[in-house]
Amino acid sequence: MKRYSMLLVYAFFFAITVLPSWLGLYDQYIQFVMTLIGINIVLTISLNLINGYMGEFSVGHAAFMGVGAYVASIITVRLFSDSSFFGAPLLSPKLAIFGFPLALIVGGIAAALFSLLVAVPSFRTRGDYLAIITLAVNFIFKSLVENINAVGGPRGFMGMGKVTNAMGDVIDLPWVMLWTFLAVVVTIVIVRNFVSSTMGKGIVAIREDEIASELMTVDTRRLKVIAFMLGCGLAGVAGGLHGHTISFINPSSYFILQSTIMLVMVYLGGMGSISGSVISAIGFTILLELLKPLDVLRWVAIPLLLILLMLFRPTGIMGNRELPDVFPWLRKYFTSTEEIVSHGSATD
């Protein structure tokens, strides 16, 4: 029973997002918002791994999203499209449907490597100091990109639109949404599996008491590297998807405000809860879109929301529980945290 439950859930969501989009039942705007929701789910879960499960305080997550966005976009534009930045494509645009996922992965790997700038200092410092380092990394990323004129510097980079069009020309599918959907599934599966394993639980042990962990044979450095590279790598993939969704990126898109939005989603959903991250990513993205007419007031609302959250419900919607913990009737179909505790792994 349980084995197939999650599959059914994924199939359901596929059926209400990608399928209708392919059939042309949704207009461009709805598709855009759905893709954005998917991207935000990946971002929230990836940050939750670092801030929630591992209890660090990374406030510069947008930098890794940005690395992925730029790397993936540069690759696809260079290889598959005719652009004002690079000239003629190196490969046939028809190959974009194969090149796109590869570019996303390369973007993710680049972000994962970039995360070492934070992972290594995390060996010796924690808390406030690490927060500063993540902040500095955000500044460094922005500054770095602004200095590279070949990709537009502060003015930005574009051309991804041609790539997505090229993909659509070969087979008419909502490609970016499709890959976003897959990215969401992969993220949920990987992170869930990881934190349910004994190795992954070591990350929570680090949060609870790092010294005790180290003395109980947990290789804290290795785990920190894994957590940062995984979390930031996933953010990089999300960034690549983001770049191809909005088709025009600039360094300011991946700066403090974006990092703050991700923080809101993580703490709104609950540190250490995947269901919470999913729920808050969906809810918050929709909220932001609904508030669009408010213009700048939107940006006032975001930090205000975070303050109110801290004052009145810092544990967020789900705390550190998952849906089956809150709704016991779900336990017939899905594994609750308690069972993960007893059996040791997600399903038995």
């Binding site: 599996n193 004994t198 003395l215 109980m216 044979t217 505790v341 007893s342 040791g344 792994s345």
Partner: protein, 255 residues
């Protein structure tokens, strides 16, 4: 070959010498006590052995392998278990998880296995869970496996902590003031527990304690330090009657 060999161990924090020329040899299957006034440097010695600090000077060898300069997790996975003055269990993780995580160094599966939930992972996780459960049973703790440590009474928490320290199949067990905060009944229970652990697991126990009843009751030999320096060493009888120890620590009336 000695199980643990410490020679001329010295360590300073800033201008303060916390440990001065500490020497000790521990053999298999014995219980050794480390006592002294507060601030004498006892926990510092434990921390140096475990690799939390790098000694200014000295040799520490476990089964012939030098420990100096190694990371703590590497040191403990060689076979050294440890408990702490203030119980340091992971409070947001269940008792069972607390034990499972201590298996970390014995895990053979890799990162990809854990991402992809492979058969290899599932097999090993079953083993790890089984082993953890058996250990809990030995300690009479099976009922508590799903509990969070902070919800358990103090005495049980202590037991869990000692249980956890035995997961990595240590040859040496370091207990730092395990009787702290216990009433006389609990202390008797603890003494029985330590004796039982010695028997059952054939480990060497090195214990820091202020409760003289415990030290005199279970230790084969005792080392006394004050201000980082060793002031006496010997059997409980010898220590009990040593004037230097009485002056520095025990006081005139000894139980």
């Amino acid at each position: 070959m000695a199980l643990l060999q410490i020679k001329e161990l010295t360590h300073s924090f800033g201008g303060l010498t916390a440990v001065d020329d500490f020497n000790l040899e521990l053999g298999e299957n014995e219980t050794v006590g480390l006592i002294g006034p507060n601030g004498a440097g006892k926990t510092t010695v434990f921390n140096l052995v475990c690799g939390l600090y790098k000694p200014s000077q000295g040799v520490i060898a476990f089964n012939g392998t030098s420990l100096v300069g190694r990371r703590p997790h590497a040191i403990t996975s060689l076979g050294i278990g440890r408990t702490f003055q203030n119980i340091r269990l992971w409070n947001e993780l269940s008792v069972l998880d607390n034990l499972r995580i201590a298996h970390f160094s014995q895990i053979r599966y890799g990162i990809l296995d854990s991402f992809l939930f492979t058969a290899k992972l599932r097999e090993e996780e079953r083993e790890v869970t089984e082993e953890a459960r058996e250990l809990l049973k030995l300690f009479n703790l099976e009922g508590s496996e799903k509990e969070l440590p902070r919800n358990l009474p103090y005495g049980l928490q202590r037991r869990v902590e000692i249980c956890r320290a035995l997961v990595m199949k240590p040859r040496l067990l370091l207990l730092d003031e395990p009787a702290a905060g216990m009433n006389p009944g609990e202390i008797s229970g603890l003494m029985d527990l330590v004796r039982w652990v010695r028997e059952q697991f054939q480990v060497t126990v090195w214990i820091i304690e202020h409760q003289m009843r415990v030290i005199m009751g279970i230790c084969d030999r005792i080392k006394v330090i004050d201000f980082g320096r060793t002031i006496a060493a010997g059997t409980p009888e010898e220590i009990r009657n040593d004037p230097k120890v009485i002056e520095a620590y025990l006081g005139e009336e000894v139980a």
